[in-house]
Structure formats: C-alpha cells, structure tokens
C-alpha cells in the first residue's frame, strides 16, 4: 500500500514537471522554429555574462526563452484593470491552466513495471473511463478563457472571450466524435488498454497503429485539438492583428505566463492524445514484452530496458507531433470566424457522425464474422 502511494506521488510529480518543462521547451522550439520557417534569425541576444560569445558558441536563444522571458514575466507588475471584477480576473488564468494539467494524470507513458512484487502502471491515475475523464477536463477548460475575457472590463477582451468560448465548445463535439469512433474500434475507454491493443504488426511489417484503422478520426482529432488550444489557424479569439491580444489583453506578468503556458500545455495534450490513439503510444514495432522479435530472429532484453525504450519512444512521438502543430501554425493563414464555425459544425460534425456509423458497422460485421 505504501509503495503504491509513493509511486503514485512520484508519477504525478514527474509528469507535471515533464509537461511544464516541455511547454517551456516548446516555446523555444516555436521561436527558433518559426524563425527558420520565416527565414530570419529569431532570438539570439540574451546571454549570461556573455559566456557563450566568449567561448565562440552560436547563441541559439536558450537564455532568451528559458531564462530572460520567464524572469521578465514573473517580475512584471500585476495590475487589475479599473472596473474589472478582481476575483474573476485573478481566477481566469488558473481556471484555464488547471484542467489542462490534470488531464495528463491519466496518460500512460510506459508499460507496467514490477517493483518489489507490486505491478505499477506508468500512469498517474489508472481509471477505467480515462477517455471520458479527458473529455471532461477539456470541457471544464472553457471557463478560464470565458471568465478571463469577461472579467477584464474591456470590449476587445470580451469579444475574444466570447469567440474563444464558442469555438471551444463547437470543436469539443468534433473531438468527442473522433474519440467515440476510437472507443468503438478498441472497445474500451482505458487508455493503457488502447495502447496495449496497438502492439504487434500486420503482414509482418505494418505496425498496428490506430492511424491505419481510423485515418478520418486522426484528421478530426488533429483539427479539433488545434482549435481547442486556439492556435493558428484557429487563433481568431487571440487575433493578433484584430483584437490586440483578445481575451488576455488585460493580463500581465504571471497571469499572462499562465495563459501562455496553457497554450503550450494544450499543444502537448493534443500531441499526447494523438500519440496514444493513433501512433501506438509507447509501443515500438517489433518490440514485445521480452525484447525484439522479428520473424525468426529475436533479441532478448531485460524488462527495464524494454520499458525505458517505450517511454523514450512515447516522448519522441509526442515531440514530433508537437513539431507538426508548430509547423501548421507557421504555415497556414488564419481562418475567418464564420469559416471556422462552418468547418466545425458543417464539416467536422457530419464527417464525425458518418465515421462513427461506418466504424460501428464494420466492427459489428468483423466481430460477427469472427464468431
């Protein structure tokens, strides 16, 4: 009992720190990556006592993004606009950040390991209805944005907040439909179980990943995930050229840092969901419980090594999908608001329903034929 408690606490802390650090690293990715894409240099000035320059190393902007920016953000004056609701203004950023962070509690980032006779899942909370939990936390994440926009006593913030809320609840439906199709395919709501079912290969070479079973759901979840995190091309609520900064125009300092962190944490969450559902999670092709098995050859490995390789594979896949989202951000122009709504309601929802219908039909036929 005690060991499970300690393991649970360690898992929770580890995954929280991982997500927060990954968000910070993504911020650096974004600045330098967008600079690469846009054929410019990006941030490269800040340095600690000029050490990098003295040693002749190129300045990659690490000190800028990871030291100077957070320092600036957290030491800025934190003001509340006149006439604004103080309590709600302070509550907004944290109400936006909290659901996104707790959504990571059910993410399995590795296979189960056995320590001192106890089987420990590499998942902070192993609940049976994990997919429902993720939908629930994403649903609650709407309120931070809504209240942040409304409590700023600023009409542009309110416009941004209203747009953001409408956009988020519209694309929640598309996300839900994509997840429903996946639940029908895998027959379970438990995320670890879904990842387990993606092990193995077809025809000896094609990994049994979800993307080959549900390509439509992949497109839907990618689109809906980017729309939920209000990133370009769906960043009209933040509309940098129209609404100044939309719903967080009246926020400065630590609270704005919280909103930014929400943005990147949701990028990581979307990438994690895509990895878990479509790219096999921590599964590596041909790597099974005991080692590599390829046809008649096999390479036996100790269990710990297999599990660690799974964890590394998971985070590599997540990083690649985060990079995909950053790439999409810096390539596509912004959607107009009515185009956005049309895509959500008239495009993705019928597509999702059709997908669910076809999936259910195929699953029933296949399982009927198997009997």
């Amino acid at each position: 009992m005690a060991i499970e408690l300690i393991a649970g606490a360690i898992k929770a802390i580890v995954i929280l720190l991982l997500v927060l650090n990954l968000s910070a690293v993504l911020l650096w990715f974004e600045r330098k990556g967008s600079a690469l894409i846009q054929d410019r240099v990006g941030a490269n000035r800040a340095a600690v006592f000029g050490i990098g320059k003295k040693l002749g190393l190129p300045n990659l902007g690490f000190q800028n993004t990871l030291m100077a920016d957070p320092l600036k953000l957290f030491t800025k004056e934190d003001f509340v606009p006149e006439g604004a609701d103080k309590f709600l203004h302070a509550l907004g950023p944290f109400l936006a950040l909290f659901p996104v962070l707790i959504a990571f509690a059910v993410v399995p980032f590795g296979d189960s390991i056995v320590i001192a006779g106890h089987t420990i899942q590499l998942q902070a909370a192993s609940i049976n209805a994990a997919a429902l939990y993720i939908l629930a936390t994403i649903g609650v994440g709407v309120y931070g944005v809504a209240l942040g926009g409304w409590a700023s006593n600023n009409r542009w913030a309110l416009l941004g907040g209203v747009r953001a809320t409408a956009q988020m609840i519209s694309y929640e439906i598309a996300m839900g439909l994509a997840i429903i199709a996946l639940i029908i395919t895998y027959g379970t709501l438990d995320l670890q179980e879904i990842v387990h079912q993606q092990g193995g290969v077809w025809f000896g070479w094609l990994p049994r990943w979800g993307i080959f079973l549900q390509p439509v759901a992949f497109i839907m979840l990618l689109t809906a995930g980017m729309a939920e995190s209000k990133r370009v091309p769906f960043d009209l609520p933040e509309g940098e050229s129209e609404l100044i900064a939309g719903y967080f125009v009246e926020y400065s300092g630590g609270k704005q840092a919280a909103f930014m962190l929400t943005d990147f944490a949701e990028v990581v969450l979307a990438a994690v969901l895509l990895t878990l559902f479509f790219f096999g999670g921590w599964q590596i092709p041909w790597l099974y419980h005991g080692g590599f098995y390829l046809g008649s050859h096999h390479l036996l490995l100790p269990r710990v090594v297999v599990v660690i390789m799974g964890v590394i594979a998971f985070w590599v896949k997540v990083l690649l999908l985060c990079w995909l989202q950053l790439l999409i951000r810096w390539t596509l122009p912004r959607f107009r608001y009515d185009q956005l709504m049309h895509l959500g309601w008239k495009g993705l929802v019928p597509l999702g329903l059709l997908n669910v219908l076809i999936t259910a039909f195929v699953v029933v036929m296949v399982s009927g034929a198997a009997h």
Partner: protein, 178 residues
C-alpha cells in the same frame, strides 16, 4: 467512499450551493453552481457511478453552464443592488423552506437507508453496464429523449430568434412597470 472524502465534498457542495442562492452577481452565482455540480459529480464517482459522474461534468458543467454564461453575457446582467421584493413574501417563503427542511430531515432520519449493500459487483456503474441497461430495457425512452432534444433545440431557436422584417412583433411598451 471514505468518510473524510464525503465530508469534504459535502461541505464544498453545501457552501457553494449557499453561494448560488446568496450572491448578488449572477456570474458569481454561476461559478458557485459550477463548483456544486463538480462536487456532486465527484460524489457520483465516489459512489461507483463512474459513467454518470463523468457525464455530469461533460454535459452539465461543460455545456449547460456555458449556455447559462452566454445568456448572462447576452443580457449583460450586472451585480444586483440591495435585495428587492416585499417582506411578506420573504417571510412566508422562509417559513415554507424551514417547514420543508424539517420534514425532509424527519423523513431521512427515520428511513432505513443506513442499511443496504456496502459493496457492489465489479463493473457496476461502468459505461458498459449503463449502456446495456439504457439500450436494453429503456431503449424506447432513449429514442424519445433524442426526439425531445431535437424539439427543444428547434423550440429554443424559434423562441429566441429576432423578428424578421415580415414578422409582426408585439409592441414593446405594453405592461412596463410604472
């Protein structure tokens, strides 16, 4: 569920529902209601009704309360001033509420709800068993509910849409309090 968890959730639920009734600003009332709904959802999950608990948070907190929030924004409701209303109404309402509270307390304390199963079968409350009961025994009610939702959506749109140029509108000055 362990008593400590229940006491915590019960205190949160009661304090936030008191907050709904007492606060002057409608948005604060809404936030208190959201907290109440989340604590009741947590109570559902602690009572092994996992599917219904998460559905409560997805549907109630994630959708219906957003609808309320939009309406509060649309009507631009501000903080209310000092409580209005005649004193007689409040007096009799208080008596009625106190009587109802006493009656409920009497019923609950005299009933034998303390007895009953303490553990449940595995798979109770999972979405599996909910779906089996819903689509098995209550299929008719389920289909009727879907039609009900369709009717509600159409009705809401029909009631709340603005007057079209060719549609007659009632004069807005009738019956305004003097």
């Amino acid at each position: 569920m362990p008593p400590a968890l229940f006491i915590f959730l019960a205190v949160v639920a009661i304090l936030s529902s008191l907050g709904v009734v007492i606060q002057r600003n409608p948005v604060h009332c809404l936030l208190a209601l959201i907290m109440t709904l989340i604590s009741i959802g947590a109570l559902f999950v602690a009572l092994d009704a996992v599917a219904v608990g998460f559905l409560q948070i997805i549907v109630y907190v994630g959708a219906i309360m957003v609808l309320f929030l939009f309406v509060i924004w649309l009507l631009n409701l501000q903080t209310e001033e000092a409580p209005a209303g005649n004193l007689a109404l409040k007096f009799f309402a208080t008596i009625a509420v106190a009587a109802m509270a006493a009656e409920l307390f009497a019923i609950v304390s005299k009933s034998r709800t303390a007895l009953g199963a303490q553990t449940v079968t595995s798979g109770y409350g999972s979405i599996d068993s909910l779906a089996q009961t819903l689509f098995g025994q209550y299929l008719m009610a389920f289909e009727t509910t879907s039609i009900l939702l369709l009717v509600a959506v159409i009705g809401a749109v029909a009631v709340a849409r603005r007057a079209l140029p060719d549609r007659p509108r009632t004069a807005p000055t009738e019956g305004r309090p003097t």
